[in-house]
Symmetry: C2
Subunit: 389 residues, 2 copies
């Protein structure tokens, strides 16, 4: 890395404040070639909404691709307008002087195929019928998502990614990138992920999908976006949100603190504890930004993710990889416990690959990869740096 | 204990098979005295449905009171008819030669006040209005439940209980018995319990209640029993059921095993994994035997349970106790982790009480207290035996 100010490169349209990529603008990549899913189904074209930060260097060698998690999107750094209350979801990691230093790296992030934040998904119009896909949208897999992203990366003129990075579902995608496009990926950083969805994780997703499907407004997936199964989606999100945190973080953040009753005669089952109020807020705000069908498709993609082959030899999946791999687990993550990260790293090592496992101590649960974590930042920074030697 | 067959005592109406209490019949205790809840609200009378196994001895000193958990009831041993597919929920522990040996002990179990399995609860008719209570039923607390049970115990002629025993919510009740009726309880056995509901446990209950309340059939608690919010209740139960098990037990029981598709063209979101099918079955069978309003009231009683006073000195709550206490935690219980059991035992010891903590190694999660566990059986048996010295 360099401290030379002359090396500072910012995204076009960005107003730089120190440590911040500034204002950013999403773009759309429209792929007019048909896309064939793992299932064999095909769509005639698709759009991926994406953002970039920093600038591609002349050698086209400094690109980092960021994979978002289930409820994330392409907007991972900076702000869309000066009034935005919050920056992108990984703004703590991406920017000048940050672990993914935009003075040095060209950072790309795209909403996943099947998504609801600008990329083609179940709520998009099917050009063949001029109606919404809804459940006519093909089942999407982690491999499908990565294959679509790979088209975008080629379109941007990048043949070799310095790194593919992601947490949770994004970590699954990073592994899949290294497996399916071994020549295009020089390193991966996989956080809070698993090589295959556990029975417990499937169970939670199944309950979330049940909550959505049992909402009459779901209507077998056939609804207008503003009339979706908001009730079911909110319940699904509230439950899932608990699994992203930890017992300890909930206790220290909320404990048994109560709210003021709303009136003189509160109902038996009105919100009483702060933690209830917090979850209700999480459910409601999710409904305002997310599509229930995308939630259905993405949780199914997670549940079907399994890199262990029929022979149960995970190392076989990793034999194709050439990328260096940093696998990070968080001590308090009980959704994808650190043993599952260790399992990935050990299988990569058995396959003769360059992998390392790091356990980061954190009380913040599965979502630790999203939150302020100097230990994690130091790891990411050093791992990127080591790749330049 | 004795192997003398002459000492075998069985409940009236029971047909004894070895190790089994045989056929049993529930009874109703109707208390015609008004009952005042912790909230100050009053009901004019109430019924408790209960069962007993074994026989009260002449000294009236051999009674064990069993406290059931959230979804349990009074039927904890034997069968109601020879055709019953399953015996009572704790049949592995209660019976001739079992840890709670009915040749020696008189075992009592009653459905809780607020319940839906024969005891007075929200679905009961309010004698003052001749309509169902529904949400006119007063908020019920663990203390209320215990106070109602205490009336039954007196009615049965028992002034001193050899033991009060329970797991989960039943463990909370056992502690409350020893605190509120110290002269009436000689020992308690508390399993998989907590001195206060954690933020995470409140959070899961809050999501379950949200699922019920958002089901239009809930109708603010005003529904006929056969037209209740079955959809919401099933979702709540499916989610809660995951918290009663463990990651490891789900992995070993189901893993990622798939079901045969129901037809040639399964829907995208049809049940695919065995664990999904299992949870759906759990949800459906629960709806057939449980009332959603009782679920609402009991989860609220759990959430409000907190033996730590305003000074956060748990030992103060235990100063009144005279009973010996066995506190059992299970290694894989993540809903009420063993630290919470240790905290109980240590506070009892700080209060100068006779308490002991035992950690039982089990992969079966919170529900371990219900399942086959020879280590647990040995502890319960020895603890009861030690009380006779």
């Amino acid at each position: 890395m360099t401290d030379d100010d002359a090396a500072v490169v910012v995204a076009p349209n960005a107003t730089l404040t120190e440590g911040d990529v500034g204002l950013v603008r999403p773009r759309d990549f429209i792929s007019k070639e048909p896309f064939t899913f793992d299932s064999g189904a095909e769509i005639p074209e698709f759009t991926l909404r994406y953002e970039t930060y920093g600038q591609l260097n002349a050698a086209r060698s400094n690109a980092i691709f960021i994979c978002h998690a289930l409820s994330g999107d392409h907007h991972c750094a900076g702000r869309h307008s000066p009034d935005d209350r919050k920056p992108g979801w990984w703004d703590n990691i991406i920017g000048p002087g940050k672990p993914f230093d935009t003075r040095e790296y060209f950072v790309i992030c795209a909403n996943c195929l099947g998504g609801c934040r600008g990329s083609t998904g179940p709520a998009s119009i099917n050009p063949r019928t001029a109606r919404r896909y809804n459940l006519d949208f093909p089942v999407v897999t982690i491999r499908d998502i990565v294959r679509a992203h790979a088209r975008l990366v080629k379109h941007l003129g990048v043949d070799s990614l310095a790194a593919v990075v992601g947490g949770s579902m994004g970590g699954m995608m990073a592994m899949q990138w290294a497996i399916d496009f071994p020549q295009d990926v020089r390193s991966i950083m996989v956080m809070a992920a698993t090589a295959r969805q556990s029975a417990q994780a499937i169970a939670f997703n199944a309950v979330g999908r049940s909550a959505i499907m049992q909402d009459p407004a779901w209507n077998k997936g056939d609804y207008e976006p503003d009339k979706g199964p908001n009730v079911g989606l909110a319940v699904a999100r509230m439950m899932a949100h608990i699994t992203y945190l930890s017992n300890k973080s909930l206790d220290s953040k909320f404990g048994r603190t109560k709210r003021e009753p709303a009136g003189d005669a509160p109902g038996h089952f009105d919100v009483e504890f702060e933690v209830e109020s917090y979850l209700q807020h999480q459910g409601q705000s999710f409904v305002n930004r997310f599509d229930a069908n995308t939630y259905m498709y993405f949780t199914k993609a997670l549940d079907r993710f399994d890199l262990h082959g029929p022979d149960e030899k995970l190392e076989d999946a990793f034999k194709a990889i050439t990328a260096r791999a940093l696998i990070v687990g968080f001590t308090s993550d009980w959704l994808f416990p650190t043993e599952q990260s260790q399992e990935i790293a050990q299988a990569m090592l058995r396959a003769g690959r360059r992998a390392t496992f790091a356990e980061v101590t954190s009380d913040l649960g599965h979502d630790s990869f999203l939150l302020n974590s100097p230990d994690l930042y130091a790891l990411l920074r050093a791992f990127l740096q080591a790749g330049k030697v």
